[in-house]
């Protein structure tokens, strides 16, 4: 992934955005808060799991599949579309994140730039709250362990999302380019930051399964090649 000089427009946006970040903001505190809430929730929920039946573990792959499609759907239809009542998400993502990061310069410079990399902590809380009703239903019908496993899986996938997204925008890729799965999603996401395809391609940010399934990937190949593509551009479609 060659780097070129960012446009004046991107440079100006970055300067303006950084000037507006509150003085009280601290990037590492932001990350710590997300990690602390997520890991504490996982720890608590995991402690409630007691001798689950084999079939209760099936909730893990099901939650993975649903979360993967949800991540794809919310990115495609909420983060890139002005939806009434959810305009804040559109503004923060399409009108800010995509101006700050382009395929030409997709990396952050300092920890204060975390402000535009990570979701605010209340997004994690909202995701946990959204996961509680299906977990409660599983509990009500006699699959209490499956309910707790669902919560563990969903929160873990949220942290997975944030970690992989960080890896997509970190400047020094000497490590992440060598890690399978992470290198694939980094190429996948940086390609998504190309304004030409950002509305139509590469909406997954963990594993590009839904992009492959719904044919919204910039690659033309099978699922395994998608997930383990790394930085290769061998299967990239013509724009």
């Amino acid at each position: 992934m060659a780097t070129a000089r960012m446009t004046q427009r991107q440079q100006l946006f970055r300067t303006d955005f950084r000037a507006k970040v509150a003085k009280a903001y601290n990037g590492w505190l932001h990350v710590t808060l997300i990690a602390a809430i997520g890991l504490a929730a996982i720890w608590y929920c995991a402690r409630q799991v007691t001798h689950p039946a084999w079939y209760e573990w099936l909730v893990v792959p099901v939650a993975f599949a649903i979360s993967n499609v949800f991540e794809w759907w919310i990115h495609k239809y909420v983060m890139h579309r002005p939806v009434r009542g959810l305009m804040g998400i559109y503004r923060r993502h399409t009108l800010a994140h995509h101006q700050f990061f382009t395929d030409v310069e997709p990396t952050f410079d300092t920890a204060r730039d975390f402000r535009i990399v990570f979701f605010p902590p209340y997004a994690l809380v909202a995701f946990i709250v959204l996961s509680i009703p299906p977990a409660a239903i599983l509990n009500a019908v006699g699959f209490g362990n499956a309910g707790w496993l669902l919560l563990v899986t969903n929160v873990a996938l949220y942290l997975n999302y944030e970690l992989f997204h960080f890896c997509c925008h970190v400047k020094d890729d000497s490590l992440v380019r060598r890690i399978p799965l992470v290198n694939s999603i980094r190429r996948h996401h940086i390609a998504h930051h190309d304004p030409v395809i950002m509305m139509t391609r590469n909406f997954n940010l963990t594993y590009p399964v839904a992009d492959w399934f719904f044919d919204t990937s910039d690659l033309k190949c099978g699922l395994v090649s998608h997930v383990f593509n790394g930085y290769s551009d061998r299967h990239v479609r013509l724009k």
């Binding site: 507006k20 009280a24 903001y25 809430i37 504490a40 608590y44 804040g88 503004r91 209340y122 809380v125």
Partner: protein
Amino acid sequence: MMGMPQERIEPNYASLIGGIVVGIAVVGLWFAIARELDMLSPIVMAAGVVLAVATASWIRLANL
């Protein structure tokens, strides 16, 4: 998208509501974990409330 009006980073309203929501989540998790560890006492509860208020205040001040 040239000529697009400059967007604000985030409305203050979001950081206010978001701070309160996260504060409630923090105190809820704190109490749940303290109970799980059989450490729920008035001092531990007070510490959880202080942590929650500090977290909510920071989210508001950081305009997160």
